[in-house]
C-alpha cells in the first residue's frame, strides 16, 4: 500500500505541473493586452504599465511561468482585481460552502440511488425496473438550472417552506438553506448512481459466490446485504470520486441560481467582473481538488477491496 501510494503521488507530479501550465496560459487566451482589458476604462499608460508589471507580463514567458510556480508554492495565486487582496484567502473562505453542498447532495443522491438501483436490478425487466429506468432517463435530461428554478418557485416562493437563497449561520441553517440546491444537484447525480449500481448488482448476482451463498441456505436478505450490496457498492465508490468534477460544475450553476456564497458563484461573478486572477485561481483550485479526490478514491478503493492489487 505504501509503495502504491508513493507511485501514485509520483504520477501526480506531471499532471500537477500540466495543470499549472494550462492555468498559466489561461490568462494568455485573453485577446489583446490582458492589462488593458482588465483595466477597461481606467487603462491609462501608467496604470497599464503598473498592472503589466504586477502581473509579470513585462518579463519573458518562461520567467513568468517560473514566477507563477514559485508564487503557487507559497500560496500566492494572484491579487483579485475586485477585492484588491490575494485570491487564495477569498477562495478558501468560500470553499467550505461548496464542499458542504457537494457532500450534502452526494448523501441525498446516495440515499435515493442505493435502494432504487438495487430494487431495479433485483426486479430486472419488471414494471418497477421500467419505471426506475424511465425516471433515470428524464432525470439525466433535465437541465439543473431549470429544475432549480422550478423547485424555487414551488417550495420557496409558493409554499414558503425553504429560504430563497443564502447559506445561513449555524449547521441547522446550512442544512435548511442548502436543501433545495442539494436536491437540484442530487437530481443530476442520482441517475448516474442508479445506473451504475443497477449494473453492478446485476453483475454480482451472476457470480458463483452468490449462487453458493443461496445454495447453502442463507436468507435472501443476508445474501443481499452481506454479499450483493457490499460488493456492488465498492465499485460505486469510484463513480462518486469521478463525479466530483461533475458536482463542482453543477455547483457553479446551482450556486448562481440560489445565490449561495460558494466558489461556483464566485467564479461566475469574477467572470463578469473580469477578475481574471480570481478565475485563474479558482480553476487551479478546482483542478487540484479533483486530482486530490481521485487519489483518495483510489486509495479508498484499495482499502475496501482486498482483491485489488497495484503491482
Amino acid at each position: 500500500m505504501g509503495r502504491y501510494l508513493a507511485r501514485r503521488l509520483l504520477l501526480l507530479v506531471p499532471v500537477a505541473l500540466g495543470i499549472t501550465i494550462v492555468t498559466f496560459f489561461l490568462l494568455r487566451l485573453i485577446p489583446g493586452d490582458p492589462a488593458v482589458i482588465m483595466l477597461d476604462n481606467r487603462a491609462t499608460a501608467d496604470n497599464v504599465a503598473r498592472l503589466r508589471h504586477s502581473l509579470g507580463l513585462d518579463r519573458p514567458l518562461l520567467l513568468q511561468y517560473v514566477f507563477f510556480l514559485r508564487n503557487i508554492a507559497v500560496g500566492r495565486l494572484g491579487e483579485s482585481l475586485v477585492y484588491r487582496t490575494q485570491v487564495l484567502p477569498i477562495i478558501l473562505g468560500r470553499l467550505p460552502v461548496t464542499l458542504f453542498l457537494a457532500v450534502y447532495s452526494t448523501v441525498l443522491a446516495a440515499a435515493v440511488a442505493v435502494p432504487l438501483g438495487t430494487w431495479a436490478a433485483l426486479r430486472r425487466g419488471t414494471s418497477p425496473d421500467q419505471v426506475i429506468r424511465l425516471g433515470v432517463l428524464f432525470s439525466l435530461a433535465t437541465p439543473n438550472y431549470w429544475a432549480a428554478i422550478v423547485l424555487l418557485l414551488v417550495f420557496s416562493i409558493e409554499l414558503r417552506w425553504f429560504p430563497v437563497g443564502g447559506y445561513g449561520a449555524t449547521f441547522g441553517d446550512h442544512l435548511r438553506h442548502l436543501l433545495l440546491p442539494a436536491l437540484t444537484l442530487a437530481l443530476s447525480l442520482t441517475p448516474i448512481l442508479v445506473r451504475t449500481l443497477r449494473h453492478n448488482v446485476l453483475e454480482v448476482l451472476r457470480t458463483e459466490y452468490i449462487r453458493t451463498a443461496r445454495a447453502k441456505g442463507l436468507r435472501a436478505a443476508t445474501v443481499l446485504t452481506r454479499h450483493v450490496l457490499r460488493n456492488s457498492l465498492i465499485s460505486t465508490v469510484s463513480i462518486l470520486g469521478v463525479n466530483l468534477g461533475f458536482l463542482v460544475g453543477g455547483a457553479v450553476v446551482t450556486e448562481t441560481v440560489y445565490a449561495i456564497p460558494g466558489t461556483g458563484f464566485l467564479l461566475i461573478k469574477s467572470t463578469f467582473a473580469r477578475d481574471y486572477p480570481m478565475v485563474q485561481g479558482l480553476t487551479l483550485m478546482f483542478a487540484g481538488l479533483v486530482i486530490l479526490v481521485n487519489l483518495l478514491t483510489d486509495l479508498t478503493y484499495a482499502v475496501l477491496d482486498p482483491r485489488v492489487t497495484y503491482d
Binding site: G18, L26, L137, P143, I149, V248, G249, V252, A287
Partner: protein, 289 residues
C-alpha cells in the same frame, strides 16, 4: 449405365432467396425517431409554422396569457413564446452538433495518432489528456469563455478545447486494441502506408464507439450551452435560445411561468430524445457495451 434419369422436382429444393435481414424496430426506437423528427421539423420549418418574428419586440402585448394568436403566451418584450421556442430549436440543435462534431474530429485525429504510433507521441498526447481531464468540464469551459469573452463562437471554442480529450482517449483505446488484429498486419504486409492503414482499415472499425459517445456528448453540450447562455456567457440576447429564454423568464416566474416552463420542457425533450437514441445505438452497435 444409367437407364433412366429421374428429374428431381423443384419443390424438394426450395428456390434460393437472398436472406432477409430482420431489423426489428422497437417502440423505443419509434419514439426516439419521432421525437427527433419533431425537433428537426421545428428547426427547419419554423418560418412556415409561425409567421411571428422571434426577435421583434411588441411591448404593448408583453406578458400575455395563452390565446389563439399566441398559444403559449408572450414574453416580457411581447414576443410570441412558441415562435421563440421553434426558432430556438435551430440554435440548440446547432449547439448539440457543431462543438460535438468538431471535438469528435479533433479527438479522432489525436487519438488515432497516439494509438497508432505509440511511444513518445502517445506519451505526450496522453499526458495532455490526463491534465485536461483533471479540470472539471464546466469549470474549464467557463474559464476559457471568461478569458475569450461571452458569445456563441467563443462558447464553441471552449467546448471543443475542453471536450476533445474524451474522444482522443476513447479512440486511442480502440486503436490500440485494433492495431494488433491480423487484417491490420495484413494491410501493412501488403505495403499500405500508415495513413492508408489508419484511414481505410482502423478508423472504420473504431469510429462506432466515437459515434455512440457523441450521442450522449451532444446532450451534454446542449445542456451546457443552455447553462452558459442562462448564466450570460453563451448565446446573447435577443437570439432565441432555450437556456437564455429560461434566464429571461426568471424575473417573471409568478406573472408568466410559461416563459420558464416551456423552454425547460424543450430542453428536456432534446435530452430524452438523444438519450433514447443513444441507448438504442449502444445496444445495436455494441451489444453488452
Amino acid at each position: 449405365m444409367i437407364d433412366e434419369v429421374q428429374v428431381v422436382s423443384s419443390p424438394a429444393l426450395p428456390a434460393w432467396r437472398a436472406p432477409r435481414r430482420r431489423f426489428r424496430v422497437s417502440p423505443a426506437l419509434w419514439i426516439g425517431v419521432l421525437m427527433l423528427g419533431a425537433l428537426v421539423f421545428a428547426a427547419l420549418f419554423a418560418p412556415q409554422v409561425t409567421h411571428d418574428d422571434p426577435i421583434k419586440t411588441d411591448l404593448v402585448n408583453s406578458l400575455q396569457p395563452p390565446s389563439a394568436a399566441h398559444p403559449l403566451g408572450t414574453d416580457n418584450f411581447g414576443r410570441d413564446i412558441l415562435t421563440r421556442l421553434l426558432y430556438g430549436a435551430r440554435v440548440d440543435l446547432q449547439i448539440g452538433i457543431v462543438p460535438t462534431a468538431a471535438a469528435f474530429l479533433l479527438g479522432l485525429v489525436i487519438g488515432s495518432v497516439a494509438g497508432y504510433y505509440g511511444g513518445a507521441v502517445d506519451g505526450v498526447l496522453m499526458r495532455i489528456v490526463d491534465v485536461s481531464m483533471a479540470f472539471p468540464f464546466y469549470v474549464l469551459v467557463i474559464a476559457i469563455v471568461a478569458m475569450l469573452g461571452p458569445g456563441l463562437t467563443n462558447m464553441y471554442v471552449a467546448m471543443v478545447l475542453a471536450g476533445w480529450v474524451n474522444y482522443a482517449r476513447l479512440i486511442r483505446g480502440e486503436i490500440l486494441a485494433a492495431k494488433t488484429c491480423e487484417y491490420i498486419l495484413g494491410a501493412r504486409a501488403l505495403g499500405a502506408s500508415d495513413l492508408r492503414v489508419i484511414r481505410r482499415h482502423l478508423l472504420p472499425n473504431v469510429v462506432t464507439v466515437g459515434i455512440i459517445f457523441a450521442m450522449s456528448d451532444a446532450v451534454l453540450n446542449i445542456l451546457l450551452g443552455g447553462a452558459l447562455s442562462f448564466l450570460g456567457l453563451g448565446v446573447q440576447p435577443p437570439t432565441p435560445e432555450w437556456g437564455l429564454m429560461i434566464a429571461e423568464g426568471r424575473d417573471f416566474l409568478l406573472t408568466s411561468p410559461a416563459m420558464v416552463l416551456f423552454p425547460g420542457l424543450a430542453l428536456l425533450w432534446v435530452g430524452v430524445t438523444f438519450n433514447i437514441l443513444g441507448d438504442i445505438l449502444t445496444d445495436r452497435l455494441r451489444p453488452g457495451g
